[in-house]
Subunit: 184 residues, 2 copies
Amino acid sequence: MVIASRPLRADAARNREKLLAAAAALFGERGLDVPMEHIARRAEVSIGTLYKHFPTREDLVAAIFPERLAALDVIGEKALADPDPWRAFVGYLEDLYALQAADRGLNDVLARDLPNAPEVVSACHRGAGHVETLIMRAIAAGTLRPDYSVTDMATLTRAMAQVIRDSPDEWRRFLSIYVEGLRS
Amino acid sequence: MVIASRPLRADAARNREKLLAAAAALFGERGLDVPMEHIARRAEVSIGTLYKHFPTREDLVAAIFPERLAALDVIGEKALADPDPWRAFVGYLEDLYALQAADRGLNDVLARDLPNAPEVVSACHRGAGHVETLIMRAIAAGTLRPDYSVTDMATLTRAMAQVIRDSPDEWRRFLSIYVEGLRS
DNA sequence: GTGCAAGTCGAGGGTTGCCTCGAATTAGCG
DNA sequence: CGCTAATTCGAGGCAACCCTCGACTTGCAC
């Protein structure tokens, strides 16, 4: 469904890249809510140019995060490859929150609804699919409490997002306690 | 240390009460960040009058929450009265988060640093004292993991604050999972 | 070269929220 | 009653962030 639009002019393409780089950096450092002006300034481009390329903040998010969310697929595959269902599930959680802890923007993306960024949403759906499988396998193996669900994971993810924001060093310990509670 | 200032004029006293009532209501409904203008409007008083009585938001918080935080003492005493250390500890958590879930402002107060509201801080310290005792008793009884600490509780409280904000119905389930992880 | 569509720029208008200050009002003492 | 100090009022200045639009600049097709 990509409309075949004529290619960008050279300067425009350059500015687009500078904007993406600036936004990627600032989202990572400060989260999704950095002022648009800051992004433009870091890209050494005027605010008008920013809006020309990305009329809304979500356009920017949608241009940046699908690639990063591919990391979710990677850790999902990695976990699914582990023959031990419990270790696979717990490993997934650890990898996921390590990613969130390393990227403030990703942390925000995963804790927030982004209705207008379908690529982001679908990446999350893919992630949820992995999670679903990991949960079912661990339940079937009798190691995970049988009533655990993807909904619980979503709640956990929002809680973890907060823990990571407040105290970047304590999320592992918090997670390990929670995970203990999941054993059946 | 209360300075013996002459009593407020009748109309001023009335307005002060109206402001406190309005702020109490709005903090409870919308959290600590309601615009000052909204508080003034709900109190049917001008914004200038609000600032005359409470020069900063924290003054308002400090005037309202110490009383509410007394509830922490109540549930603390209640828990300490329970002869079963584990049930006491878990009961305290449930009571605490039920309070937070019922009062958006309290939820904010307990998840946030309020450096300029010493009465609030000291109420939190008292609460932490209760928690400390409950934790030590449960550890001594061998039912709580021996490395649990007040710091962990603080982290939990911030996480719970987020869960409560996002999904007011799921905090009990989230807590019960976490609590399972605390057994030793 | 030249011309024009494409792109850039940034001042400025809009919004929301914070807080101040001087003019107008009024409680309550004597 | 008056008088005065205490109180009230709200327009308006300030700041942060949003986003638009018309004038200017420039890449590039010919």
